[in-house]
Point group: C2
Chain length 205, copies 2
């Protein structure tokens, strides 16, 4: 099985399946079906069966999926059967919210560093983190071998900081700055921009 | 032109084009080409021409697009040639960050209400907002005719609050709770969940 042969759109649905399965497991459920999972995530049962079958035979006709087994498999496929250290760059409101966000627990990520270039923020305490100077970012991230970062700086600073992150060896950037980022081959970016999400919906109003 | 005939994937790219065009305009640029725009957003020039041509003839062969004209057209198409009032439900860290987020200005949205069901938060001041009791949500939102909401409550409360929002007449929900929401026909949901975005990238690491 060639990992890079699976369409990215399928990869994008796996975290949604995993999230729903984890909620089922938290409620003590043992097994589920593609129908039941589909109703919870708003995706057809046929699509779910097709997506999951790309990676192997994880369910049984008639008995469905064993939830804990499917969770383990999905975590393995998405490489979150380990914990990824994450750096946050930008200690503004959004950086604060992310640094204190409890939703990364058990989902494969742990924030370990928070950076800002504002001298009044450097040294500040955010929860368990001390804000570090962006000037030390490349050295610190490279030294720690961190490959995942979240970017919450203003749009005007985002490209410059992205270059630093790439230089530091970061391979996955979640960008909250309202600007498109282009990155070298081998580096991935995902964008979160509430205004673009809202605009995409107002079209239909 | 039937609005609902345009594929949703194209609608999803329009806010990205608009964002880049607005940055160009801010820098004093007058015209652009699909090549130049494409480089900024990481989408091919051919794709951009094809997407934009779905809505009319907005560019000229050889001279490209007049930026201010294309911005006006895109704003009109996405119905953000007006300002949409937005309600935020959930006054935790993320609700705070959104209520104080300067990135909605000039992008078609204005937060006007913040709700929470926690008695210790109701009455609190967040920037210019006073947190209101979720118990009053349906009445308040219906009374104000608000159609757009952002949901930043815990996953365990998200479905219940969504029902309230739908009852209040909200037609577009941006959901920050880490759970899939199903809504009636005619209501749209977009999901923002940093962990799923990160998981989608770690697959490739």
């Amino acid at each position: 099985m060639e990992a890079n042969k699976i369409p990215d759109i399928i990869i994008g649905r796996l975290p949604i399946y995993l999230r729903a399965l984890q909620r089922m497991a938290d409620k003590g459920m043992q097994t589920t079906s593609s129908q039941e999972l589909g109703e919870r995530v708003g995706i057809s049962a046929a699509q779910i069966r097709k997506d999951i079958s790309q990676f192997g035979e994880f369910g049984k006709q008639g008995t469905g999926y064993r939830i804990s087994f499917l969770i383990d498999k999905l975590r393995e496929i998405m490489k979150i059967d380990r914990i990824w250290d994450v750096a946050v760059v930008g200690a503004g409101d959004m950086g604060h919210a992310l640094a204190r966000y409890p939703g990364f627990v058990n989902r494969g990520f742990r924030i370990t560093m928070v950076f800002d270039n504002d001298p009044t923020k450097v040294g500040q305490q955010i929860g368990e983190f001390t804000v570090e100077d962006t000037a030390t970012l490349v050295e610190r991230i490279k030294g720690a071998g961190i490959q995942v970062a979240m970017l919450t700086v203003p749009a005007s600073a985002a490209r410059e900081v992205t270059e630093l992150l790439v230089k530091a060896g970061v391979k996955a950037i979640l960008n909250y700055a309202p600007i498109s980022l282009t990155v070298p081959e081998g580096v991935r970016v995902q964008h979160i921009d509430p205004a673009t999400h809202l605009q995409r919906m107002t079209y239909y109003l």
